[in-house]
């Protein structure tokens, strides 16, 4: 099937646009040299997935190989397509809220935050400060949980089994906090339009602080296992390199973009919730390779801890629910609101026709757009690197396919 068409497509990609050519051009060059592969008739077309241990769900990648070298890829997605956007058009704004948790189920809180804020914006409502702080705390906890899951599975893809269990052990602590807060561990449905449903339980701050003191040494533990491990370095350095310009051209966001040296984080660039009140850094990489993305995510966990620490210490008293009408009927209009989800820019584009249901709700999923960069990143690498790069992009198929 279509490694052929895929080549054509990427060549068409290149045909225009002078300014962001570099990486695409590089892949173009690769193609030129690979034009007459070693054993012409013996190119392997390999079907990786949808049932494959390293595709993080039901991603299917069709690899065109020369020996073990990747000549081209084509992603076949949609195996988990549930029509979230169609469902949104047939549910009220409130009823749709739990559905967003099912997209990126590893970062359900972030999804909920983006959705609630988008609707609030459309309603012209602002959540009260206390709710904003709770949102920040939970979202950042969720960011850590998501990165932990990423780290475990990514390391497992590269062959290091043990970090998976370490990260899952520590992720458990976060999930326990979620469970105590809202009763659910994974698909939390923690936020409501206009604020939060639940006041924090007694001892919430203490739990969060306990987690922070518990988790700080654990990050170092992960790093001792991997950061200076020679095999890890060899497997990740200069693998899946994508330059900043290419990343921007391909719409890549999140840690993948930042690892390529673009210092851009929506929490800083266009602050939402209460993020403008906290002091934190945006970790940036230089090479845009898998190792940099690893380092960026590790540092992001630390920065998230900083944010949580500040938020917990300064959490204001007050209401947790803004003035929201009983029946949510936003005025006619449209809104695009995006947040920095663990995987990148998560945007909601909502068109309201003034009724209780969204007329059109579009989710801009970070994983979906980031996954598009896979082809550019893996060309000319080996099969083993494809696995590493899929892991480093950090996709969640629930979000890719929606």
């Amino acid at each position: 099937m279509s490694a052929e068409t895929n080549e054509v497509s990427s060549r068409a990609l290149l045909s225009s646009d002078a300014s962001n050519r570099s990486a695409l051009e590089r892949s173009h060059l690769d193609l030129e040299t690979a034009e007459k592969p070693y054993l012409d008739s013996n190119e392997l077309i390999i079907n990786m997935g949808p049932q494959h241990p390293a595709t993080h769900g039901v991603l299917r990648v069709i690899l065109k190989l020369d020996g073990e070298r990747v000549l081209g890829t084509e992603c076949v997605i949609g195996y988990l397509h549930r029509g979230v956007e169609k469902i949104a058009e047939n549910r009220t704004y409130t009823m749709f809220n739990p559905y967003v948790d099912r997209m990126d189920y590893c970062a359900a809180v972030s999804n909920g935050l983006g959705y609630c804020e988008a609707v609030e914006k459309l309603l012209n409502v602002v959540a009260p400060p206390r709710a904003q702080y709770i949102r920040v705390i939970l979202t950042e906890l969720n960011r850590i949980a998501s990165h932990q899951l990423w780290l475990g599975t990514h390391a497992l893809d590269i062959g290091a089994m043990t970090p998976l269990f370490y990260t899952f052990r520590d992720r458990e602590e976060i999930l326990k906090i979620f469970e105590k807060y809202c009763g659910a561990r994974l698909t939390t449905h923690a936020f409501r339009i206009g604020g939060c449903q639940y006041e924090t339980y007694a001892g919430f701050e203490k739990d969060v602080n306990n987690f922070l003191t518990f988790f700080a040494p654990k990050i170092d533990e992960y790093e001792t296992l991997l950061t200076t491990n020679r095999i890890w370095l060899e497997r990740t350095k200069n693998v899946g390199v994508i330059s900043g310009a290419d990343a921007i051209a391909l719409g890549v966001t999140g840690p993948v973009l930042r690892a390529s040296g673009v210092k851009w984080d929506l929490r800083k660039a266009q602050p939402y919730a209460a993020y403008s009140e906290f002091d934190f850094e945006i970790p940036v990489g230089t090479n845009g390779d898998t190792y940099d993305r690893y380092l960026v995510r590790m540092e992001e966990m630390r920065q998230s801890m900083r944010i949580i620490e500040q938020a917990v210490s300064r959490i204001p008293e007050g209401a947790i629910m803004g003035k929201v009408p009983k029946v949510i009927k936003p005025p006619v209009g449209e809104i695009y609101h995006s947040i920095e989800a663990p995987k990148g820019e998560l945007g909601y584009f909502i068109v309201s026709d003034g009724s209780t249901q969204p007329y059109r709700l579009r989710v801009r999923p970070p994983s979906f757009v980031n996954l598009q960069a896979l082809d550019v990143m893996v060309r000319g690498l080996l099969v083993a690197d494809v696995v590493a790069v899929i892991g480093t992009i950090d996709i969640v198929l629930g979000e890719v396919d929606r």
Partner: protein, 102 residues
């Protein structure tokens, strides 16, 4: 039971040699032709070692070792040629290898 003499080994070696010769002369697949050559070399080796045993010295065995070395070199070069050939003509059939240059 008849004791095993050098003659027995010679018969086995002759049989292997003839089998190898048949393979070389009749098969189309170059890989199998190369394998038949290995068969021939083995037949020769068996003869050499049998004679070495017969004469009670080790020169035959030394020859056998040299032939093994030669077989390794031959396999490496032969298979290299085969791959180079396959890359250009996409065939491993010996009767299609009929051009001196392509």
């Amino acid at each position: 039971m008849v004791p095993i003499t050098t003659l027995h080994y010679l018969v086995v070696a002759a049989a292997l040699f003839v089998l190898g010769a048949i393979g070389v002369l009749t098969r189309r697949n170059v890989v199998i032709v190369l394998m038949s050559i290995e068969l021939i070399l083995n037949a020769v080796n068996l003869n050499l070692v049998a004679f070495s045993r017969m004469w009670g010295n080790l020169h035959g065995q030394i020859f056998a070792i040299f032939i093994v070395v030669d077989a390794a070199a031959e396999a490496a070069a032969g298979l290299g040629i085969l791959i180079a050939f396959f890359r250009n003509k996409e065939t491993v059939n010996i009767d299609e290898i009929d051009l001196l240059k392509w």
